[in-house]
Amino acid sequence: MNPAPEVGVVLPERQYTPDNVQLMLYNAALWNGHRIHFDLPYATEVEGYPGLVLAGPMLGDWLHQLVDEWLGDAGMITSVSYSNRGATYVGETLTATATITTFDAASGALEIDVAICNEAGESVAPGTIGAQIFMVSD
């Protein structure tokens, strides 16, 4: 794991700029037919959104990816708690962030504050991830 686990450590950020194709594939993988994700006239004219709405659980997935990439095969995510606080749209660039808030070196248990932020810097999906580093026993 790089950087090494320590309270206050900020993991490398990742930016996501999902397009229509990615959003369509995501909702197809779910079997989610909600028009706000693919029908632009419906989303804008009927529901009054400024564009196609990104699916909330896709942002939830992104909260995991930073932490999961950092852990690699040295540990696993054991829990997540998050909420979707605001709508986001195709065309936006969103940034995933993660900061280690607790680390128990004896057990390998970690808590990590995670968030997806929009271009205005607002957190649209704040959360906490629990993770466990596998302890090597010899």
Binding site: Y16, A29, W31, G33, H34, D61
Partner: protein
């Protein structure tokens, strides 16, 4: 309680869905990993499922005439609430066991809570649904709690 939630509505707490049993396939894992922009080879190749793969695995598959005009499937576990407009909700997920291609998983959803809180512009109704996902050895693989807010 300030009156929005009737005793009758509360009797729905404990309501449970029929068990839903699904098989995990490499192809479905790969599709999900690609669609979410995952960069890890073990997920892109479908060797193991990434976190949140249970979301596509257990999304309700309903027939076209059961979708609302805006393309949404109606959650039959839910009673009729006196407030209807759904606001953003939250998820709490515990990951207990890894998920791999070939695994058969069974989910059961339970309506576990209905309560009311005062919001800035009136009362809000909260409800919680817990989904337990078990493997064929009856081990709990994932427990997910969804909290939804109605205004």
């Amino acid at each position: 309680m300030t009156g929005l939630i009737s005793e009758e509505l509360l009797t729905n707490i404990g309501r449970q869905s029929k068990p839903q049993r699904e098989i995990v396939t490499r192809r479905d894992i790969r599709k999900y990993a690609v669609a979410t922009g995952n960069r890890q080879r073990k997920y892109l190749d479908g060797d193991v499922a990434p976190p949140m793969f249970h979301v596509p695995l257990f999304w309700d598959v309903v027939e076209l005439d059961q979708l609302t005009p805006d393309g949404v499937s109606i959650d039959t576990l839910l009673p009729k609430f006196p407030l209807e407009r759904a606001m953003a909700g939250g998820l709490d997920i515990e990951y207990l066991e890894p998920i791999r291609p070939g695994d058969w998983l069974t989910s059961v959803r339970t309506l576990t809570a209905i309560y009311e809180k005062a919001g800035r512009s009136g009362s809000l109704i909260f409800y919680e649904i817990v989904m337990d996902i078990r493997n064929d050895d009856e081990e709990l693989v994932i427990r997910e709690k969804t909290t939804r807010i109605l205004r």
